[in-house]
């Protein structure tokens, strides 16, 4: 996961360049104390002004190199981090919207948090990575400079550094463990806020805002406590770091001062060594912090990877070739011995359901449990696959087809189909395949959307707001219905499409629907008598099994349980 974010789309090369640039910068930084030492030694101690000028020039060149390499490196690293984050974000969105669906549902808030906070954590790891590489290079430069001044001192640094780093890594372990847990706790606060704001209208209806705010406060306090725990661990870690690096600095200073006192190195070299040792502290701590940076990025990467690896809800491999385009007149739907065990929200299984609907037919399906209708709808849309039996389209089992391709032929939107921010016409017009304005207009007429549109100042081009919330439920439902009709799909399966529509309009919609779907296959999962009355045939499922088939009027007279179900 991390690798993909950092090296996809030739980002790897840029990242390498960024690391090289930062290394140049850090090496130049390491050479500054050496230059200071040289100036003390060659100019200040000797009073040689020509030497002072020469060495100040060296200092200037050093700064120039440092500045340019950093400028280049920082831009390259930001490029990698930002585009890497973008790429992670898009793969999360792509996975969430994948036609194959997800076996385990995810909360919108959780998905959102993955696509923003976690994507950023993963991508920002670039910064961590390139700065650490540069810090490592700086440590090596410093060690080489020390070796040149004095072999024992260089060895002291070279041999002393690994144990220091190991000690720091060891100190960072508890921190790593904490980080992941605490980030989850913080994400929980965000998810709770999102959930409460999503249900704002419901909260408002019962005046539950104060209670909701209290609930959030509890979660927020828990997140605070978790953060403070992490920070406590972080504080101890910082303390350990300071102690180890500070002790190391004291040791180097003491050893080199002794050597200077005994005359084996010059005073300027002592200054350089002390300056280097002081400088080393930065890169040492930097490298040591690699652990916690990695921990954070890893925790996020794990969460992202878990999402990307979520098994699909339906398991067909993507089709390889282009399937035959739906031909006119085709689209015979046959449901054969379809069984779904414990469908979500239902008390009983859906067992051996069998019926068919041919082109030009409008078939009603009445279930005594809304969850059964939903399971049937989901099977037709390939949101789930049946445990046994199948949905056949023109003789081919739906669960052997690619879901996205299948949805070209079978359109089965969820009952609570959402609208999206944008205009009414933007919501209705399908993009693939494109349809004629006449087809759109026919869909608008059938779903009685014109009534809605006429009342709006910008007509069809009125904005509907986030999730269509500026419109009433009935208006949204009609637009969603028009959207489904506009696809002109060979097979259309609708679940209670008129629940929020008044009875007069519903009657018009029923007739419009029939007309709009002339020659095509349509299944209505509904208990509305108005819709059932326009169906050619009505299939009745009781307790998840076929119990009767007939016309609406026929069933009304012949079946008491049918009457009870639809005439509520």
């Amino acid at each position: 996961m991390l690798r993909e974010a950092l090296s996809g789309q030739r980002r790897g090369r840029r990242l390498a360049a960024a690391s090289a640039g930062l290394t140049g910068h850090d090496v130049a930084e390491a050479l500054i104390p050496v230059t200071i030492g040289a100036i003390i030694d060659r100019a200040v101690a000797t009073g040689d002004s020509a030497a002072l000028g020469r060495w100040l020039l060296v200092l200037t060149v050093l700064f120039g190199g440092l500045l340019l390499s950093w400028r280049y490196a920082a831009r390259a690293a930001a490029h990698v981090a930002e585009y890497g984050g973008h790429s992670v974000r898009m793969s999360i969105a792509e996975r969430a919207l994948d036609p194959l669906g997800m076996a385990s549902g995810r909360r919108p808030g959780e998905l959102f948090s993955l696509a923003t906070a976690d994507a950023q954590n993963v991508a920002r790891f670039t910064h961590t990575l390139s700065t650490k590489l540069a810090a490592a290079a700086a440590i090596i430069t410093a060690a080489v400079a020390l070796l040149l001044i004095s072999v024992p001192l260089g060895l002291l640094v070279l041999i002393g550094t690994p144990p220091v780093l190991v000690a720091m890594q060891y100190a960072s372990r508890p921190l790593e463990r904490r980080t992941e847990h605490d980030y989850e706790s913080a994400a929980q606060a965000g998810a709770t806020a999102t959930d409460l704001l999503t249900g704002l209208r419901v909260l408002d209806g019962i005046g539950a805002q104060p209670h909701a705010a209290r609930r959030y406060r509890t979660v927020s306090r828990a997140a605070l406590a978790a953060t403070l725990r992490t920070e406590r661990a972080q504080a101890w870690y910082t303390a350990a770091n300071t102690l180890v690096t500070g002790g190391f600095l004291a040791l180097i200073a003491l050893v080199s001062a002794r050597m200077a006192a005994q005359g084996s190195i010059t005073v300027g070299e002592l200054v350089a060594v002390v300056g280097l040792a002081q400088f080393l502290r930065g890169p040492l701590v930097d490298v040591a912090y690699f652990g916690s940076g990695l921990a954070r990025a890893r925790a996020s990467a794990r969460r992202v990877a878990a999402l990307l690896n979520t098994p699909p809800a339906v398991t067909t491999a993507r089709s390889t070739g282009t399937p035959p385009a739906p031909t006119a007149g085709a689209g015979a739907l046959r449901i054969d011995e379809l069984t779904v065990r414990s469908p979500a929200g239902a008390a009983r299984d859906l067992t051996g359901v069998t019926f068919h609907a041919g082109p030009g037919e409008l078939v009603g399906v009445v279930t005594d449990d809304a969850a059964h209708a939903r399971a049937l709808l989901d099977c037709c849309a390939r949101r789930i696959d049946p445990d046994s039996g199948a949905v056949y389209i023109d003789g081919a089992a739906l669960h052997h087809s690619d879901p996205d391709e299948a949805r070209r032929t079978v359109v089965a939107p969820p009952h609570d189909a959402a609208l999206f921010a944008g205009t009414i016409v933007g919501n209705i017009t399908p993009h693939d395949p494109p349809v004629t304005p006449e087809a759109i207009d026919a869909a608008l007429t059938a779903a009685c959307v014109h009534d809605v549109v006429d009342a709006l100042p910008d007509g069809l081009h009125s904005a509907v707001g986030e999730q269509g919330l500026t419109l009433s439920g009935g208006q949204r439902q009609r637009i969603a219905l028009a959207r489904a009709l506009a696809t002109g799909a060979p097979v259309l399966v609708l679940h209670d499409p008129t629940t929020s529509i008044d009875s007069v309009t519903e009657a018009r919609v029923a007739l419009g629907l029939r007309e709009a779907r002339a020659g095509l296959t349509t299944v209505l999962l509904t208990t509305s008598p108005t819709l059932l009355a326009v169906c050619d045939r009505v299939v009745v499922l009781t307790h998840g099994r076929n119990t009767a088939t007939g016309t609406h009027t026929g069933l009304l007279t012949s079946s008491a349980s049918y009457r009870a179900t639809v005439l509520a």
Partner: protein
């Protein structure tokens, strides 16, 4: 800041209006208020912070001493050197302890402030008028409460400690340089004007870029939520590519702003490097001069150079966290902006409604300029009376329901509940009097019990159980794996729309208000589900004044009075039978409704036996006869 590349979006911009952000002064005031709340902790954090910085300053002084000892005493300096080495080690121990302590204390203050703030923001967001939230989109709010909170939190635990430590370090180092020789401090200050100019240059240019970046991120959040909140619709309608394009567009825009900010930052740092070079060269040249004059020792010149060299890091840190602070400032402004939205006044001593009657006088409301729905509606409902609002979609029934329940404020006319306007009562008191259930269902994440307790936090399990049974939810509750403790809501056990609606009704029972407004609350169910919901509704409405927006005309038939709305106006009003006899608009609706329901049990002309209300309708005129057609569009009787 409006991003320039708006037009390329395949979907229209989610919203035109975002919620406001606070101005600089407002943000500062809010930050100071939060700081004051945590004053005690903040003061305690300062002490170890200063001590730690002082300890850090001792290091170059000790190193300078070492140089001097070596220069002056050669091999004789060894015992002193050992002592100085031990002092350096002691400083390391001190710094470790003080550093950890100060870091924790500073972060504690910052994080506590952020927690206070985010709770404040959510609290305010929850109490915003629904109109306001829907206009600017919930995505914007969510982006603020997640993204901006995160930026501010990061600043609190990272940038603020760095800033405070570095600022102290810079000041004390300058003092340290001055103690060596005042001229060193002056030389070091040569860098200051360049740094200052660079900072001003940078802040002026980066601020708008950061603002724009945050705005684009808000838009990106809205697009993400739009798609991720309705995955099934997106996949069923094969809209995935379109939504991904829309998300990618905003995500790309955010990337571009972020990279623009990086370019500014690198130029800024270039200028800082120049300042460092000038300052360091000045200190070294001055040291050279002063040593030659004998004014300072080589050790002191060394210490001065090391002091200045040590300044690089804190100054870099100081100036580089400036933009993190600035970014956090922008986030903070957006958070504070939410808290500064005018709060609807909560009356200190709200007048109590004298009964559960409703009186609407010439009430009008307008969602859009020029379209008034409802328009001049007058209606009175007696305590205990049940009124059904019927009419075609878009007639203004839902808006009227919101107006009655105090969700919207009428733009003209008055709404009175028991003689009191909702505005006078304040929201909390209004909700104790009138509850509103809309067709929008939301099951909150958490256990079933948590969800119900939103209505009544004090309710015990038995009360919850009673409420669920009263609305007929026991049939499926008993089948739940963990009963009341079953996790529901997004990601939890899925509930069907009728089940979610039963839950909504159960919440009303727990809330127990004298007046209930149901807006198509039973619309979601068909068949058996609808019957169960109608029974549940009956349980909820029993003994209460009720206004129900009904598409299922059975509910209208059992109401005491039916009010028919058309294009924002009341066109008919009266009892079910009366209106049928009048052969007007309602008769038409009823005919359409019963056309496919012809059974002996449900005669098309006679409604089910009227309900006997707990307290009989007391409207002075009694059920009014249908008004003569007020609207010319009123269809002629069939």
């Amino acid at each position: 800041m409006t991003p320039t590349d708006h037009g390329t979006a395949p979907l229209a911009s989610p919203t035109d209006v975002l919620l406001p952000a606070a101005d600089t002064a407002g943000t500062r005031r809010a930050a100071l208020r939060l700081l004051r709340l945590n004053r005690g902790r903040a003061l305690w954090a300062i002490v170890p912070l200063v001590a730690n910085t002082l300890a850090g300053l001792a290091t170059p002084l000790v190193l300078g001493r070492m140089v001097d000892e070596v220069v002056r005493h050669g091999t004789d300096a060894l015992p002193t050197l050992h002592v100085l080495g031990a002092v350096l080690a002691g400083i390391a121990v001190l710094q470790a302890l003080l550093g950890a302590l100060s870091h924790y204390l500073v972060v504690h203050v910052g994080e506590s402030m952020v927690a206070d703030l985010r709770e404040d923001v959510l609290d305010r967001a929850l109490h915003l008028p629904s109109k306001e939230v829907e206009r600017s989109g919930r995505g914007d709010l969510v982006a603020r409460i997640t993204g901006d909170v995160r930026v501010v939190t990061d600043a609190a635990s990272n940038a603020v400690p760095i800033f405070v430590t570095a600022a102290l370090g810079v000041v004390l180092t300058l003092v340290g340089l001055g103690t060596l020789d005042w001229r060193f401090a002056v030389a070091a200050l040569l860098a200051a004007p360049i740094q200052l100019r660079a900072l001003i240059w940078y802040l002026g240019r980066s601020k708008p870029v950061y603002r724009a970046e945050r705005t684009v991120e808000g838009e990106r959040a809205q697009r993400l939520l739009d798609a991720l909140g309705a995955v099934d619709t997106v996949t069923a309608m094969r809209l995935g590519p379109r939504h991904l394009d829309a998300i990618a567009d905003r995500s790309h825009a955010a990337v571009r702003y972020s990279l623009r900010a990086t370019r500014l930052r690198t130029r800024f740092f270039g200028r800082l490097n120049l300042a460092e070079l000038i300052g360091l060269a000045a200190v070294l040249a001055l040291g050279f001069h002063l040593v030659r004059e004998g004014a300072v020792t080589i050790g002191e010149a060394t210490a001065a150079a090391l002091f200045f060299h040590r300044l690089f890091d804190p100054i870099g840190a100081l100036l580089s966290v400036f933009d993190e602070l600035q970014e956090a400032g922008a986030g903070l402004a957006r958070l504070v902006g939410v808290t500064l939205l005018p709060r609807t006044a909560v009356p200190a001593d709200p007048p109590r409604p004298r009964d559960s009657s409703l009186a609407l006088t010439e009430v009008s409301y307008s969602h859009r300029e020029g379209v008034e729905v409802p328009s001049g509606v007058s209606l009175s409902v007696a305590p205990g009376e049940r009124v059904a609002l019927v009419g075609t979609t878009g007639a203004g029934k839902s808006t009227l329901a919101q107006l009655i329940a105090g969700g919207y404020e009428p733009m003209a006319g008055t709404v009175r509940i028991g003689g009191v306007e909702p505005r006078e009562m304040g929201r909390a008191a209004t909700r104790r009097t009138v509850a509103l259930v809309t067709q929008e269902v939301h099951v909150f994440v958490g256990t079933l019990a948590d969800d119900l307790r939103l209505a009544s936090p004090g309710a015990d399990d038995a009360a919850l159980d009673r409420a669920l049974r009263a609305v007929g939810a026991d049939s499926w509750i008993d089948a739940l794996p963990e009963g009341l403790d079953t996790l529901v809501g997004a990601g939890g056990h899925p509930l069907t729309a009728p089940q979610a609606q039963q839950l909504a009704l159960a919440r009303v029972l727990l809330l127990d208000p004298p007046v209930v407004v149901l807006d198509e609350a039973t619309a979601e169910a068909g068949g058996a589900g609808a019957r169960a919901l109608e029974a549940a509704t009956e349980a909820v409405l029993k003994g209460r004044t009720a206004v129900l927006v009904a598409h299922r005309l059975h509910q209208a038939a059992t109401a005491d009075r039916v009010v028919v709305m058309e294009e924002g106006r009341i066109v008919e009003e009266g009892g079910h039978r009366e209106l049928l006899a009048a052969q007007g608009r309602y008769a038409g609706l009823w005919e359409a409704w019963t056309a496919h329901r012809p059974t002996p049990g449900h005669p098309t002309t006679a409604p089910p036996p009227p309900r006997t209300p707990e307290s009989p309708p007391q409207s002075p005129q009694g059920p009014r006869s249908p008004r003569s057609p007020r609207s010319p569009r009123n269809p002629s009787p069939r």
